[in-house]
Point group: D2
């Protein structure tokens, strides 16, 4: 059991928890990363993750601690749910009285921007989960790590919850390192935010369920549009920079899609046209779902955005034009109907399912921070909430396996050829 | 009462209706176009419209008549509701047994296309109103009037219901004329289909209520997006080629919009930027709703589409870029969030309200055709369904009056300046 | 033009309006109650209603006036929209600075209850239309008119907006009379609130559109339940104390209903069973929609509620049991599925359509009060907003005409016999 | 690894699969029931479940096999999704050409009922997932096992998919035993259907996600109702006969609930009143969610239903009356608002999330049957689809652990006392 992922505990246990919980988690309970077994059984050094949950002994004194919350990057359904859950559990369960909501992402952690933090209270956050967006505001991009740590220290913040994606968690990791270097007693706990559901060591990320749910109506609509004319081709662009989970799940859910294009499975225009021609001849209409990160070989990159992410070329507009041109040239014009509902999806309030998940994520993040964990994110793995070291989490992305059962389900559901390149 | 709009009855009353209705409409009951009065009372020659409804005496023998239905142009919520209502009332109330659903718009009325019509029955149409789109398919554009009348005659069609917009109804009018010229006994009754709600002599057109309802979520989403960053500008493009009713009503309904741009109210970029700068300085975010036909002076026309409509330049993409450039140049970049949800809206199933309206439209169209009316469309005016001569209906479009109470409500609701040009 | 409905103007025009409106309504423009004409034309003494809208000359000085708003009776979708609209138009358009939201219905107008009013501001009401319910709270029942007028006078209220049903408007009428008796300069303007849509001289009341929209899912669900078993009978109870408009429109919208029972059309159990037996034999399932006020002959009244309304016996539970017993006795048990979604419907946020309507109602109520109108409610008639004297409005209820086109549409749509008694 | 759950394979592998899958599952790969580890590691005899998925070698010849599908018991969202998935995967992936949809539950498997099965094809099932209910119909209750096996044999059915709850799966188990006794080569594979999510060895059951999602609006509505009056008490009854998962998750999702009552946590009326009194004094309103199986000590059982389930007394109506009486007696009447939305929830179409899950369940059920598995149900465990022996699955119910983290989250979220009895 040694090779398991290890945690970076901030410091020792200092006081008994004020929680009136009926159950506490032991520090030595861990969750297997791989729950399958072969005839040889489970390898004794199989990789494991620390189980999340309330500890009987905690590190910070809730009556004194100052907590901070920051939301970074693009919108994702559930942000307000997480802010609400953190605030409620900090306040109502641990008795923390000073909770600062930093404004506009990491900008809010830099003094010179002058964004005053919001004092978060149960009254203030009570109903925010009914709305999409984030009451704290957000921003993209990095800020100076030293300045951030200066500001945290100046404000007396002892635990910071960072709700954000890859870039945010890398920043989080650097803040943790600087905090350690200075010997400060500040815990940094991340809640991974990616609508793409592409974080390692967590089965799901919040907002993903909502994204899939919200993608259904656009697909159904485009299907109706495509069906209503001869040679109608509907095209929906969905989220998915490096992983096509939203496109895949939304397509499975609607069962109206004839072609799913994701970053993990390359395609050539020739093969795509070939398939489309056959489909139109046979059925007179077709529906395509494309993840934003698919087919990037065909579109010019637009540089980097403020978060340091590559700005993808617009594969949706490209395909719309390319398909249109192709069938025009063939003499059998296709009626293209295109929709890019991304902003409608990202800004939606969370589904019930995501709301429950967000509440649990928030609660576990608070338990982790109170117990002195730092440099971790909260994940869900094999049915348990776990602590994942942030470096481990950002090491590589979770992707669709083109040889796995999910992609096979897509092939079955759409009828598209396994090989498009 | 002479100057009133006159109807083109196809022919005389020939048999008693088989309807078991509790009420019949008299032919001499009319509806005032203007229901307001001044101290002088109502002018004796005030314009009126013929009241719609079942007649005691009808023109066609239901046991022999063949009815046809055709849907033309772009999708609009409620198409299937209307097809269903026509079929149900023809079949169940009058006992008509042969109802042909022509495929793919006016193409289906041209023999050489070879689109076989669908035999419509109550069983077939029972549940179609739960889906958006049209089960008949559609197409844009004109077809030869002579060929259409040849085909109608060959198929023995005695009443044709044309569900379509402006172009369709003009076509309808030409078919009516040709039918008259040939002395045929075929009634042509139109159900105006424009999601823009811009038909004269009808308070509403089907699909409009759904369009407004479906526009709410995109506006709310874009509002959340704009609010979530500093200098966030959200932009939603909605339907509205020559009339901005959808944009206006959707903005009133959401009350999150700061600027509504419609075709009826000109604007200059300078004034628009000016207002936006003030708004961003004060509130740090702004939401704009633009009707597709607004600001066409700024965008190059793209020629005509198959229906003969001018293909508008894309004012949405234009504004997105122009606003982005402007604030970039000012040194205070705006974060633009843009969505064009048109295809999601057009393909949606009808709201309950629209479903009820579609059922009534369909029923009145059948009553009109059975009684031998032709060359008319069904409208709703001053609370009554009426027969509107098709020439009258297409003469000019219903538009927002920039000096009227609706636009004033927009000014009040958004805070935008009355004059933007 | 003499026999027209006359208004009770509070007093003379005293100052020019501060409004920057592009249009003003003249006091002598009226709307015909009946917009149809016969060959004889319009009778010169035809009944008319005063046109609503902003006046150039107003009665109250906006900089000094104190306005009050009260919501009474049961919940209805759109209450918050109306509160929001009143506040926005009073504040932003007229510049009124003191707007009191009285708590818990007429209780809030009685000093001894000790409910402090809420100071309403644009910031406070900005987003309330996204929620159902009423931020002011409500209550049922009458309060002493003298005490109310004492309280209004003590608080310096010069215009009171009463949002409520029949009972509320009768109260409103008594307050108006007492105000007049005392020679006070206080305007009372009502916004009729009845989800049943049964107010005379207004084509619609707010909340009705939402009620119909929200009734669709329960009907569809019960339809699926009934279809899923042999001899399945689904029963949905909807709102409608004396008028069955909600039941009728919801049934038309869903087109899944086989029997609609409304207060206006009597039925006997014998005929109902008879029809049901035939239906089940033929189709093996049936869906019934019953308005709460239907068939009251069969259920014992439960006395009166606090509003003075008769507490109806529960026709839903009664029918569920009666039908169950009947088919049990026949030896062919029916599987009854019953749902009463009233509270889910009444508490829903308004549809887009209702939201627009509520904004307009609120605006016109403000214009009316500012111009010194009192003792009126705002209605919508023949496409125009109008002032309806409150006595006129509460004189009798708007009902479904069993011989009219709406009920005929129900007969056509459901296949139920015209005569069930 | 010996103590693991064992499967009942029907027979040997007989032919290579016609599937063109990129991946096949090995028969010796299993999934640990408990994925957590202690410092001692994983016990070598830890309980495991067989991994589901396509096998390279199958038992039945798809070109000859006849498959049957039956849906039993009450409605549950996703039934049509599962029927659709089974049909699609059988037909499109394995090439099975004869798929029988038995009507009205186990009745359809008894010849004397005379319900002809429906021939299921891709065309027929293509769009059924958009509707709630089951196109096959259902019924409650047991049928004679011998008669069922006779009928299966007579119809040549070689694999039967039973979609149903506890009672259905017990029946399934008896059919399996009788099939074995007779030495027939018929595979019986179950897909557990319980909206309550109370089946052992599966993390979720289909329909549960939809039930939670659909419970949100009623809770929000009742919350608004309760808030709108002084001493308002809202009560929502939800599904949950022996397990309160729907009530718990729906309450967490809405975060508007002040008291959750589930079968697993006993309560007394005294403690409940006590809590309610305090809550009303402090906040003037309260929202209660009660699972149908909670507090059964207070309500008289109503005998058994056709499925053999105890017919619960109506705890919802009981509490409504009891709370009403209590506060009436106290002299501070509570305004009770009660809703039981069960039929609206059960008959709803599946959420996107449930649709994806149903597709996967159906696919794995087909893979299992084709490979000759019998006497199993399909479960999801630790992120993998698994085969669970039906006896194991029905042995005991999955329940909320009152000492676990889920119930603790409820206590935190609602503020209700841990001990109510």
């Amino acid at each position: 059991m040694n090779k398991s992922i290890t945690l970076g505990p901030l410091g020792e246990c200092r006081m008994e928890t004020p929680l009136k919980s009926r159950t506490y988690v032991r520090d030595d309970t861990r969750v297997l990363v791989d729950a399958t077994t072969s005839p040889d059984g489970v390898h004794p050094k199989a990789e494991t993750l620390e189980l999340a949950g309330p500890r009987r002994c905690i590190h910070f004194d809730p009556t004194e601690v100052v907590a901070g919350i920051v939301t970074c990057g693009g919108l994702c359904p559930g942000l307000n749910d997480v802010i609400r859950a953190l605030t409620m559990v900090l306040h109502d369960r641990y008795g923390v009285r000073r909770i600062l909501g930093f404004r506009y992402g990491y900008e809010g952690l830099i003094q010179t921007y002058g964004h005053d933090p919001i004092a978060l209270t149960p009254e203030l956050v009570e109903d925010i989960h009914n709305d999409g967006g984030t009451i704290l505001g957000s921003s993209r991009g990095r800020q100076d790590t030293n300045d951030i740590v200066d500001h945290l220290a100046a404000q007396g913040v002892r635990m910071l919850f960072t709700i954000g994606g890859d870039g945010t968690q890398r920043g989080s990791s650097e803040i943790t390192a600087e905090v350690r270097r200075r010997g400060l007693d500040i815990a940094i706990v991340g809640i991974p935010k990616t609508i793409d559901n592409d974080v390692n060591y967590t089965e799901r990320t919040f907002g993903f369920d909502t994204a899939v749910a919200m993608s259904r109506a656009p697909i159904t609509g485009i299907h109706k549009e495509a069906q209503s004319v001869r040679n109608g081709v509907g095209l929906v662009k969905l989220m998915g920079r490096e992983s096509g989970f939203v496109a895949a799940h939304a397509s499975l859910a609607s069962s109206d899609v004839n072609l799913v294009l994701v970053p993990e499975v390359p395609f050539t225009l020739e093969r795509l046209f070939d398939y489309l021609e056959k489909r139109l001849t046979k059925k007179s209409h077709a529906v395509i779902v494309v993840a934003e990160g698919a087919g990037q070989a065909y579109v010019q990159s637009q540089g980097n955005d403020a978060s340091g992410n590559v700005k993808f070329g617009d594969i949706g507009l490209f395909l719309k034009q390319a398909i249109s041109n192709h069938f025009e040239a063939l003499g059998t014009p296709a009626y293209m109907k295109y929709v890019d509902p991304s902003y409608i999806i990202r800004s939606a309030p969370a589904t019930a399912n995501d709301s429950v998940f967000c509440f649990q994520l928030g609660a576990h993040a608070v338990h982790a921070a109170m117990s002195g964990r730092t440099g971790i994110i909260i994940g869900l793995w094999n049915g348990h909430f776990v602590h994942v070291p942030v470096e481990k989490a950002v090491e590589q992305r979770k992707c669709i396996n083109p040889d796995g059962l999910l992609w096979q389900a897509i092939l079955d559901n759409t009828g598209q050829p396994a090989n498009l390149s």
